[in-house]
Structures are given as structure tokens and as C-alpha cells.
């Protein structure tokens, strides 16, 4: 008996490891995993108020990340009172709705904080695969959900999920445009500026945001940290736009207009030691974006007659054209995975749509089509998702899709005129 138990103890962990599925996100055979996300259970009155927000955030994370097909709850067959442990779950009822995995959460509260226990089950095996418990202040129910969703994402992909990242964007106001920083799903938005016209926000690695503001006489680069008053970062030439911080946060690339032309400059993150990288009289060079290793920059230049994407070293050496299709390619964003640059292109029907170009072989892939105008793509910090603006909902709103253009979804935000998103850890 003892020897058998010992044998089991040795066998079980290796068996579990071998059985653990890893979702391969890229590749032609990728199919989203059908997941049933059960309504969170709670016995505490205090936690009840947080259930809806928690549930909405968790469900959106699963639906928008592209890994999963979140099953429609209207089809569920299990008892509403079904428990959260493997022994109390009738797995065949989940099989019958097509679920391959099942997520159950239980919320509890002591009045000030909210505690969530998430269990992930493999439906076919009838087994608990993952159990995570986290707590957060009661008002941060959504952040708590993002944390748990990240644990599930990591379980399946062994990569860090995008759910605890932050985004920046601008929103039109009656008098101009303001910069906001928000959670990845556009919720918990904090207004950074107050009045004037503020555009092209760039998140600073480690915290804070930089943006071009008309608050002084000319549009120059400002930065704001933790709700503080914006301070001037770079004031040079007649206009400073398109700031982008290097992945290590030590340098910032910008486009500075002087006279007829605009050139790419790189400076230290505090604006010092500013160096000119491009020198093309009478042409515009804008929208720099860093490669993940910080050694190269992609940018837009009209030196060939119309705007195209170019690549160069971070010191300005080896400037090379990357896109040769179309006659209007702008707003590049270099994938943190390194292989792709996403950009906006005006196609032959004068529609704005999103494409990626492979940095190594210049292969262009279309991501959006026939869904109103789509512009200003930016990759998630893990390179799996692209945030962009689209006018498909009537007004210009923020949408997210996978890096290959699948699973396009609007962020759960109120309507407004949103532009130029950025995305960082």
C-alpha cells in the first residue's frame, strides 16, 4: 500500500506537467479554446456589489485576448448553484455546451478588501488545472479580475498577459483635446491634462506619460507624472511631435519641425543631449517607433514623394525604405516581439486600414477591411494584440484585435472621439 502511494506521488506531478496544454497563438492551426466563464459566486453581501464589475472585466479579458472563445451563458446547462470544486461540478453538462475549459470564481469580502478565488478546470479531464487567490481593495474589482485573467493567460501561454498594462489616448473635449491614461480595457481612465490641445501621448516605461501640448505658445513635448502638473521635456524648433520612449526608458525619439522640414531626433529621457538622426531637406520625417532591442527605429518619411515606412539604426545609420506598396503609409508601431511593424495605410479606395509589414522580408499583411476607417495601431507590450482607433461605431473609438487581425472588439468605453493610443507596461 505504501509503495503504491509513493509511486503515485512520484507519478502524479510528471503526469500533470505532461498533460498541461499550451496554447500556440501563432500558426495556421490556431483555434480559440472554447471556455465557459461561470457567473462568480459569493455569499458575502459586501462582495455582491463588486460581482458585476469583476465579472465584466474577467469576461472581457478572456474574450478580447484572442486565446479563447467565451461561450454564451444563455446556453449553459449546469445548475446555477453548482459548486466550485471538481467533485461538485457536473462536467458532462459543460461538455454538452462545447466547453473545453471552465472558469469558476468565488468572491468574498471583509468590507474593505475583495478576495477572489479562481479555479480553472479542464472539462474533458474533469480536473482542476489551476487555482489562484488574490485580494485587492473593494473598489479595485476590475484590477483584481485582470490579475486573475493574467494568471490564466500565463497558464496557457507561459507568457505575461496584457491585462495589467496601461494605455494612453486623447479624447476630444469642447475646447480641445485631453490626454488620458487608463487600464488596458479603457476603464479607470485618469485625465492627465486639463484644457488646451494635447495630442500624441507616449507612455514612459516605469510611469508617467509624455505628449505634445499647445499649452505654451508652440506645440512642444511635455511630460506628466502621477497626476502632477505637466512639465516641459523638449522645446525646440517650431513643433515637437510623435514622442516614443526606448524600451529601456532611457531615451526618447521625437520628430522636430524646423522651417520646411521635420527630422527625427533622439534625446535622453529627460530631454537632454538631443541628437539629429535624419537630415532630408524639404521632407518630413515623423512618427518614430523603437525596435524591442532599442537598436533600431522605424519612422515615416515622404522623401520618396509620399509617406512610407523607413527603418534606421538608433544612431541614424543605414536608413532604408521598408514599405513599397501603396502611396500613404503612416503611424508605424514596432512589435515588442521584433518581427512586425504595424501601420496605417490608405488603400486604393481611399479607405484607411491597418497592415503589418515583416521587418526582415518586407511581407505586407492586411489586418482590417470593410469596417469603416481604422488607424493608429499600437502593439500590446507582449506583442500579441493591437490597439487601434476605428470609426466603425459611428464616432472614433478604441478597438483591440490580435496581431494577425482576428477577434476585433471595441473596448468597453463610453462613446467619444478618441485618438492616438499608446500601450505600455
Amino acid at each position: 500500500m505504501f509503495s503504491r502511494l509513493a509511486a503515485l506521488l512520484v507519478l502524479v506531478p510528471s503526469f500533470v506537467l505532461a498533460q498541461r496544454p499550451v496554447i500556440e497563438i501563432s500558426g495556421a492551426n490556431f483555434r480559440p479554446m472554447p471556455v465557459a466563464v461561470a457567473v462568480p459566486l459569493t455569499q458575502d453581501e459586501g462582495a455582491r456589489a463588486a460581482v458585476a464589475e469583476f465579472d465584466a472585466a474577467l469576461s472581457f479579458d478572456f474574450a478580447a485576448c484572442g486565446l479563447f472563445q467565451v461561450l454564451d451563458r444563455k446556453g449553459f446547462l449546469a445548475d446555477a448553484k453548482e459548486g466550485v470544486t471538481a467533485s461538485s461540478i457536473q462536467f458532462n453538462r459543460w461538455t454538452d455546451v462545447g466547453a473545453e475549459s471552465l472558469v469558476k470564481t468565488q468572491l468574498s469580502s471583509d468590507g474593505a478588501s475583495l478576495r477572489a478565488d479562481l479555479r480553472l478546470f479542464s472539462v474533458a479531464a474533469g480536473r482542476e488545472e489551476l487555482k489562484v487567490s488574490e485580494a485587492a481593495p473593494l473598489k479595485d474589482a476590475r484590477r483584481l479580475a485582470h490579475k486573475l485573467a493574467n494568471a490564466v493567460y500565463k497558464h496557457y501561454t507561459r507568457e505575461t498577459g496584457p491585462f495589467e498594462t496601461r494605455i494612453a489616448f486623447t479624447r476630444k473635449t469642447p475646447s480641445g483635446r485631453d490626454v488620458y491614461v487608463a487600464d488596458w480595457d479603457g476603464k479607470n481612465a485618469q485625465r492627465i491634462t486639463n484644457g488646451d490641445v494635447n495630442v500624441l501621448p507616449a507612455l514612459i516605461p516605469g510611469g508617467g506619460v509624455a505628449f505634445t501640448s499647445y499649452r505654451s505658445r508652440k506645440p512642444f513635448l511635455f511630460s506628466a507624472q502621477g497626476g502632477g502638473e505637466p512639465v516641459s521635456l523638449i522645446a525646440k524648433g517650431s513643433m515637437v511631435t510623435g514622442a516614443a520612449f526606448s524600451p529601456d526608458g532611457k531615451r526618447v525619439a521625437v520628430s522636430i519641425s524646423e522651417g520646411e522640414n521635420a527630422e527625427i531626433f533622439v534625446a535622453n529621457a529627460d530631454g537632454s543631449n538631443i541628437t539629429k538622426l535624419t537630415d532630408t531637406k524639404f521632407f518630413l520625417n515623423t512618427s518614430p517607433t523603437w525596435s524591442p532591442d532599442g537598436k533600431r527605429l522605424a519612422f515615416v518619411s515622404n522623401r520618396a514623394g509620399n509617406p512610407q515606412i523607413y527603418v534606421m539604426g538608433a544612431d541614424g545609420a543605414g536608413q532604408k525604405r521598408l514599405t513599397f506598396q501603396g502611396n500613404y503609409n503612416t503611424t508605424p508601431s514596432w512589435s515588442p516581439r521584433g518581427d512586425l511593424v504595424a501601420f496605417t495605410a490608405r488603400d486604393e479606395r481611399n479607405a484607411f486600414d491597418l497592415f503589418t509589414v515583416n521587418v526582415d522580408n518586407a511581407k505586407v499583411t492586411r489586418l482590417t477591411q470593410d469596417a469603416a476607417g481604422n488607424e493608429e495601431p499600437v502593439f500590446s507590450p507582449n506583442g500579441r494584440l493591437i490597439l487601434f482607433t476605428s470609426s466603425r461605431g459611428g464616432s472614433r473609438g478604441l478597438h483591440v484585435m490580435t496581431f494577425d487581425g482576428n477577434n476585433q472588439m471595441a473596448l468597453p468605453m463610453e462613446k467619444g472621439d478618441f485618438t492616438t493610443p499608446d500601450w505600455a507596461n
Binding site: 446547462l77 458532462n92 455546451v97 462545447g98
Partner: protein
């Protein structure tokens, strides 16, 4: 009950005439016979016996059962007939396969079976496998089951 006695065909028609509905459905639905042995279901149903050549059943398909008390089940979960269409429409398995097996008791009125099939068709499930008992072949095993219980 007795009011109808010798009514000379003037009685009110109190039931839906299912014949035209069945006509339409036979066109829209692909119906095939499925043999029972592969299907292991928790719902107790006496199956009709047929001589029709059966199709090999797959135990991965969604099974909809109707027991002799007219209770409808998706898998083993009982659902109200009114909710059946909504449940099926939101069911990823049914929507992907566009197929289900109907496991209905042979003593049921035709009308209820047709109601379920019509709801399935509205929900987009166009292939319906009728689970039958090939000439009592499984009767022996049924009896064996009973003995075991």
C-alpha cells in the same frame, strides 16, 4: 370529453395541424437514423424500433432527449421546451456541428417531437439524427441493464 361524441366533424380543431410543418421540415432538415448502442445516456427512454439502415453514431454529438413524460433534456440537463431554442442557439457545440441526436421515447405524441425538431431547426441545427433501436437489438442489453439495477 363526451361533447365530441358523434359531433359529426364539427368539433373545434384544438391541435395544431403538424402535417404542413413536417413537410417543410423534411425539406430543411437532414434526418438520419442512428443506432443506440454507442449512445450512453442518463435519460431513460424507450426507443422506437426500425429496420432502416442506421448510421454509426458518434458519442461526441449533442444528444437531445425527450422522455415519456414529455420532459426535454439537452444532455442530462432538463430544459423547458420554451427555453430549448435559446439554449440551443447559445450552445457552441450545436452551433459548430449543426447537428444533434434526438433521443425520444417511442410512445410520445408526434407533436412534441416535431416541436423540438422545429425549435432545433430555428436554432440552426439542421442535421438531426433520430436515435432508434435496430429491431430490438438493444432490448436484450436494456433488460440486462434492468437486471443489474
Amino acid at each position: 370529453m363526451s361533447t365530441n361524441k358523434g359531433g359529426g366533424g364539427r368539433a373545434t380543431l384544438s391541435e395544431i395541424n403538424v402535417t404542413p410543418m413536417v413537410d417543410v421540415m423534411l425539406v430543411l432538415l437532414i434526418i438520419f437514423m442512428v443506432t443506440t448502442p454507442l449512445i450512453q445516456q442518463g435519460v431513460k427512454v424507450n426507443l422506437p424500433e426500425t429496420k432502416a439502415a442506421p448510421v454509426e453514431a458518434s458519442d461526441k454529438k449533442l444528444v437531445v432527449s425527450i422522455d415519456v413524460n414529455k420532459r426535454v433534456f439537452i444532455g442530462e440537463a432538463e430544459v423547458a421546451l420554451a427555453d430549448f431554442e435559446v439554449k440551443l442557439k447559445a450552445n457552441a457545440k450545436a452551433q459548430q456541428d449543426k447537428e444533434m441526436y434526438l433521443h425520444a421515447d417511442r410512445d410520445l405524441p408526434y407533436g412534441i417531437v416535431v416541436d423540438v425538431m422545429a425549435a432545433a431547426q430555428r436554432a440552426g441545427v439542421t442535421n438531426v439524427g433520430m436515435i432508434t433501436d435496430p429491431m430490438g437489438a438493444s432490448k436484450a442489453s436494456h433488460d440486462k441493464d434492468k437486471d443489474q439495477k
